[in-house]
């Protein structure tokens, strides 16, 4: 009985974990290439969530189709923010770019609040469910799961098989080396910031399929923190590491939820959060370079 419940939770955890993973790839990409910590990460996810809501409500667009729209919007935001601030700040101390992304996050939250107000909103996209015996999975979540894996694979192929992807990889390896090969390093920085935010915003679309209470402009902070744990799990600089970090995180989060809920005196939701950050601290202390980092 408990075994069944655990298996069910782990399946749910794996599904949500894939979305978490995809949601963290952008954070790791931006950190890996630019050494910028995007503290406003969750706010960009929130923008994606509201894009999903608006395109669904106004245009009747199913959220899967909002993913590419969100990717483009994210890239545009990325190019703009890069041009306006990041470009100059990456030459300065790390704190300045960190504060800038923090500021972007708050600006986005306030802009979205101006448009939509601060109460929770939701939309209902239902396609039915299927049963796996131990648990029931709505098709919408299955789509989010498959979509996240697809995005991760696409990014992997792009990075390792295309010329543009290899150019970006070479910038990560050694930016001066890339420059003497004739690669426009400035452009690669802008591009990776844009792709990073594109990934982040589009992950916000998929995330809405997992939030029954609905979304609001301040939902992001929670996911920023999770993304940090996941990024550390995944070795910080590698987007694929982040993806696997997300899977692990999803499994642990849902697995431990069951564990904590078996103690009647504990509030399991708060406990999983507590548990995640204890995990973060422990990993940082024993392996500051992240758990999955091979180098």
């Amino acid at each position: 009985m408990v075994g069944h419940q655990l298996a069910g939770n782990l399946i749910q955890g794996l599904i949500l974990g894939a979305v978490y993973g995809m949601a963290t790839m952008g954070l790791s990409l931006i950190f890996g290439v630019l050494k910028v910590v995007n503290v406003g990460h969750g706010a960009f996810m929130m923008v994606g969530a509201f894009l999903a809501l608006s395109t669904f409500k106004l245009l009747g667009l199913p959220p899967v189709l909002a993913v590419p729209v969100a990717f483009i919007v994210g890239m545009l935001l990325g190019f703009i923010f890069y041009r306006v601030a990041i470009k100059k700040l990456i030459k300065g101390p790390e704190l300045s770019s960190l504060l800038a992304t923090f500021a972007f996050g708050i600006i986005l939250e306030e802009v979205v609040k101006l448009i939509y107000g601060s109460e929770h909103r939701g939309y209902n996209w239902a396609l039915g469910k299927f049963s796996l015996g131990v648990t029931v999975v709505p098709y919408t979540k299955l789509i989010a799961f498959v979509g996240s894996i697809l995005v991760a694979v696409l990014l992997y192929v792009w990075f390792n098989r295309t010329k543009a992807g290899k150019a970006l990889r070479s910038v990560v390896e050694d930016s001066e080396g890339a420059r003497v090969c004739g690669i426009n390093v400035e452009w690669e920085y802008a591009l990776s910031f844009a792709i990073g935010l594109g990934l982040t915003v589009s992950s916000g679309v998929l995330l809405t399929l997992f939030i029954p209470v609905g979304i609001n402009p301040y939902m992001g902070g929670h996911y920023t923190l999770k993304a940090f744990v996941i990024a550390v799990l995944g070795g910080l600089e590698s987007p694929y590491g982040a993806f696997f970090g997300g899977l692990i995180f999803g499994l642990i989060e849902n697995g431990s939820y069951l564990l904590f809920s078996s103690f009647p005196s504990l509030e399991p939701f708060a406990m999983t959060r507590f548990f995640s950050f204890v995990m973060l601290l422990i990993i940082l202390l024993i392996r500051p370079e992240g758990l999955l980092k091979t180098k």
Binding site: K163, K166, A167, R169, S170, E173, D174, E176, G177, A178, R179, V180, C181, G182, I183, N184, V185, E186, K295
Partner: protein, 235 residues
Amino acid sequence: MLKVDKLVSGYGPMQVLWEPSLNVKKGTITSVLGPNGAGKSTLLWTIFGTVKPWSGKIYFEGRDITFTPPHEKVNMGMTLVPEGKHLFKGMTVYENLIMGAYRKEAEEKLQENLELVYTLFPILKERAQQKAGSLSGGQQQMVTIARALMTNPKFIMLDEPSQGLAPKIVLEVFETIVKLKEEVGLTILLVEQNAEASFDAADYIYVMHEGHFKAEGRPEDIRKSKEVREAYLGI
């Protein structure tokens, strides 16, 4: 081929280059000698564009390239073999070489240049599938030079290519540089601390000290000048 006129640059508020002017003739090896911290690397980085010039002019084949961004300079046939290698250590030797052929014109000549590079450095063909970071220091230096050749350059700047290498390997590196001039037809600007080896390889020498050129001339003249050797080269 390259003309530098009263170049000034530095880092933050610190001025490093104090108006050196230099001329590199087509088909020659021009060498800049000088002690640690003289500003030799800064000179090359400023010519290449990674460090922004504060004032002065840079001309390449008659065109003003003072503020041309580095990737466009590579397009024009100029590249740099930086000090300290700057390889893509996590990539294979072959992948490093392919990255050198990144721009379109270089990609068209990829096979041709790959053959050239493998004739110059046969060991790189053997090690093609090995990670660049796993090679010896001398072999890594070969990869950096080879990668630069893959950009299909006319003009190449080398920053202390013999640094940290065993004497025998240093000799090989200098032989290769002379080959690049004589057999490949490249024009070369070579920065070195190894004065003796440069005297043999170079057609013209500039002696740099604290961001100024203190002397220039043909190698035999610089070699003869006791004053220059003692004051700036310490030999």
